[in-house]
């Protein structure tokens, strides 16, 4: 180890990997992973979220987690985005491609992707 910069580089690289254990992310993305969710393809959706969040360097800010059945099985895969002080956003009939857009526009850009939300699709 010859310089502080070298140490800092290792730190930044590793922080993304251990941020998962922090659990104090400002935003929580929860993917419904009960039998209905898995059958409808929730796993690739979950993977897409994890991957995209890491690619964008959001791991310290966003916690991607999973949950059981939310109760609207016909709309699976269901994804909820929770942020302190804001109303919960429920995305339905998700795909990995839609997940990438949610990461880009909502998690990173702060703008809800209304075309995928439950309120919009269940109308």
């Amino acid at each position: 180890m010859k310089s502080l910069a070298e140490l800092q580089a290792i730190k930044e690289k590793m922080q993304q990997k251990v941020a998962l254990r922090d659990g104090s992310g400002e935003m929580r993305v929860v993917v419904g992973m009960a039998t209905c969710g898995i059958a409808a393809g929730a796993r690739p959706v979950l993977s897409a979220f994890v991957e995209e969040v890491a690619n964008e360097g959001l791991a310290g800010k966003v916690t991607v987690s999973q949950t059981g059945c939310i109760g609207i099985c016909q709309y699976e895969p269901v994804v909820e985005v929770m942020e302190a002080g804001k109303e919960k956003v429920t995305y339905v009939k998700m795909t990995p491609e839609k997940a990438k857009r949610v990461v880009q526009e909502h998690l990173k850009g702060g703008k809800v992707v209304t075309e995928f939300t439950f309120a919009n699709i269940a109308k």
Binding site: K2, L4, M14, V18, R21, G23, M33, S47, V50, V64
Partner: protein, 607 residues
């Protein structure tokens, strides 16, 4: 892409309750459900709640599973990791109050009563990082303090920060760490040393072991900082061979630090060299004494030597040496990074920062807790420790192991710090806290610790070698019913004689358990000597087992189980019963207690 981390405790406590098997099972189950690419297994150091081991934590949810058995693992993997459903029956849910209102599925570790009141500085990485991966330590600000010290600070500035923080030695004595360094730094020599005392010998204390097992790099970093501050280029960690997991992780950590150039030549391009090695001790209690420890590192029999000269002047191999305890060192990087003021903002007037306690004895949550100095004993025992099992009454807590003293129930609101404990004739010691309930006999407790020090006395000086032996004989006389009040007085005199005349800390503190129990529980000594009774019902020689003839239903289970044939049938039939009652022939009774254990109606009692 990894989306979940499963943290399995690999501390000594959980290892002995089977965490290795749990880990193997996890590997198999994760493979079986095809999650190898998504879930990472991490073996960590101690989480602290050893009573509930083996402990498993699943992130990002932070779900805390306790007492996990190998057969539970498949369920955790298939339900939680695959389907996102928390296995509620395994979740630790003791939140202290209104546990029923708590959403168990969302309960994270930090919400539990055990963790809520803790303030983790020394243990901050224990149970969080993989101690065998230096990169994870670096992610948690590891080695940043060493970098800061070597590139921005002079040795004197380092000493000033440590002095200003008010950090005092955590091994027991409470000597100001900054002053120790300041006394060593100016002494000129061709070689100086930094030594870490990891010879944790107090029965019931295991915080140093847990730091070595859970966060070994914190120690390595701190020792390098100390080396820079005092001008030493070589360090030794003296750790007992009885701690195999700690020794192994320390070895791995030292190797990784060397490989990365965080130990060795020209660290951070500053021109500062520091090398570190470990030395294994054979587990003698006296080797926790600083001069005996250094004698042992030198390859000699671990015996203390007279001070002065102090190690700051003539220590290891006759060279100026700083010796600190593991927990003391573990505070250092945090102080450097966050500043002396931050550290001094925690704790009391003269005891700054936090202290790790090993809770043991008659308490629900046995384990490791870290709390700010000045927390009351009541909070430690009832809020964090979860109180005393079986609704029993708190009697006293022994602090500081065989060198310390007891804190009686009347002083339960004492704010625990160095000076308050010294004021009541007790001592902080290394932080072992053994809780005793009403069923503990204080004379017997003192005897237990004396037996330990008699075994562990190195024999170099007479007051300790012979004095502690005589003291133990006197205690044996008292517990066997042959004591007198004169003997108690004589014993007290001997205590002070040993204290004042012994060569090292072992002998000087050995009589403490007797002195402090005499101070707070003299009535128990009197009861043993005058009434020939043991009030707690522990000392066998002073007990009689008696059958209450009116409660006895005449079943005969006691007589059948009596190994000495001391129980016989009488002619008396109690009102309301059909069979004649039994009685114990006290001349034949061997006081084994088998009758009491087998009496269903509870007709037998100890007196």
């Amino acid at each position: 892409m990894i989306r979940a981390h499963v943290l399995i405790c690999g501390g000594t406590g959980c290892t002995s309750s089977g965490s290795q098997k749990i880990q193997e099972q996890f590997i198999a189950s994760i493979e079986k459900y095809g999650l190898s690419e998504e879930v990472k297994l991490v073996q960590t150091g101690c989480f602290g709640l050893c009573a509930l081991g083996p402990v498993v934590i699943v992130h990002p949810d932070g779900t805390f599973y306790s007492m996990v058995q190998p057969e539970d693992v498949d369920e955790i993997v298939s339900e939680h990791l695959l389907k996102g459903r928390v296995v509620e029956r395994l979740v630790y849910s003791d939140t202290g109050e209104e546990a029923t209102d708590i959403d168990v599925a969302n309960l994270s570790l930090n919400d539990t009563a055990f963790y809520k009141t803790q303030n983790r500085v020394v243990l901050r990485n224990c149970g969080v990082i993989d101690p065998e991966d230096i990169n994870e330590y670096i992610a948690m600000d590891g080695y940043a303090a060493l970098g800061k010290v070597l590139t921005e600070m002079t040795p004197q500035e380092v000493i000033d920060v440590i002095t200003a923080s008010g950090l005092r030695g955590r091994g027991g004595g409470g000597f100001p760490t900054g002053r120790k360094w300041a006394l060593t730094a100016p002494n000129q020599a061709d070689q100086k040393y930094v030594v870490c005392n990891a010879d944790e010998g107090d029965p019931g204390a295991f915080m140093d072991r847990s730091i070595l097992e859970g966060d070994p790099h914190a120690l390595i970093e701190a020792m390098a900082i100390a080396g820079y501050a005092i001008g030493a280029t070589q360090g030794y960690v003296y750790v007992r061979a009885e701690y195999p997991i700690a020794v192994n992780r320390l070895r791995i950590a030292i190797d990784q630090a060397k490989e990365m150039g965080l130990l060795g030549k020209d660290i951070f391009g500053s021109g500062f060299d520091f090398d570190l090695d470990n030395r294994l001790g054979a587990g003698a209690f006296v080797c926790g004494e600083e001069t005996a420890l250094m004698t042992s590192i030198e390859g000699n029999r671990g015996e203390p030597r007279p001070r002065p000269p102090y190690p700051a002047v003539k220590g290891l191999y006759g060279k100026p040496t700083v010796e600190n305890n593991v927990e003391t060192f573990a505070n250092v990087p945090q102080i450097i990074l966050k500043g002396a003021d931050w550290f001094a903002s925690m704790g009391t007037e003269r005891s700054k920062g936090t202290k790790v306690f090993a809770l043991g004895g008659k308490i629900h949550n046995t384990g490791l807790v870290e709390i700010p100095m000045g927390t009351t004993l009541r909070e430690i025992i009832y809020d964090i420790g979860g109180g005393i099992p079986g609704g029993k009454k708190f009697k006293a807590a022994q602090s500081g192991g065989p060198s310390g003293g007891c804190i009686p129930a009347s002083l339960i609101d004492t704010e625990v710090d160095y000076d308050n404990l010294t004021a009541i004739g007790c001592m902080m010691g290394s932080g072992g806290l053994i809780v005793m309930d009403e069923d503990t006999c204080m004379v017997d407790m003192a005897k237990f610790f004396l037996e330990f020090t008699v075994d562990e006395s190195c024999g170099k000086c007479t007051p300790c070698r012979i004095g502690t032996k005589r003291l133990l004989e006197m205690l044996n006389q008292i517990t066997s019913g042959n004591g007198t009040l004169e003997l108690v007085d004589e014993m007290e005199k001997l205590c002070y004689y040993i204290k004042e005349n012994s060569l090292c800390g072992l002998g000087q503190t050995a009589p403490n358990p007797v002195i402090s129990t005499l101070k707070f529980f003299r009535d128990e000594y009197v009861a043993h000597c005058v009434d020939k009774k043991c009030p707690a019902g522990v000392c066998q020689d002073l007990l009689s087992f008696i059958i209450d003839k009116d409660k006895c239903i005449g079943c005969g289970r006691c007589a059948k189980n009596c190994p000495a044939d001391a129980i016989v049938k009488t002619d008396y039939i109690a009102p309301g019963h059909k069979l004649p009652s039994y009685t114990i022939d006290l001349n034949k009774c061997v006081k084994c207690g088998a009758c009491l254990a087998n009496c269903k109606p509870g007709a037998i009692y100890k007196d």
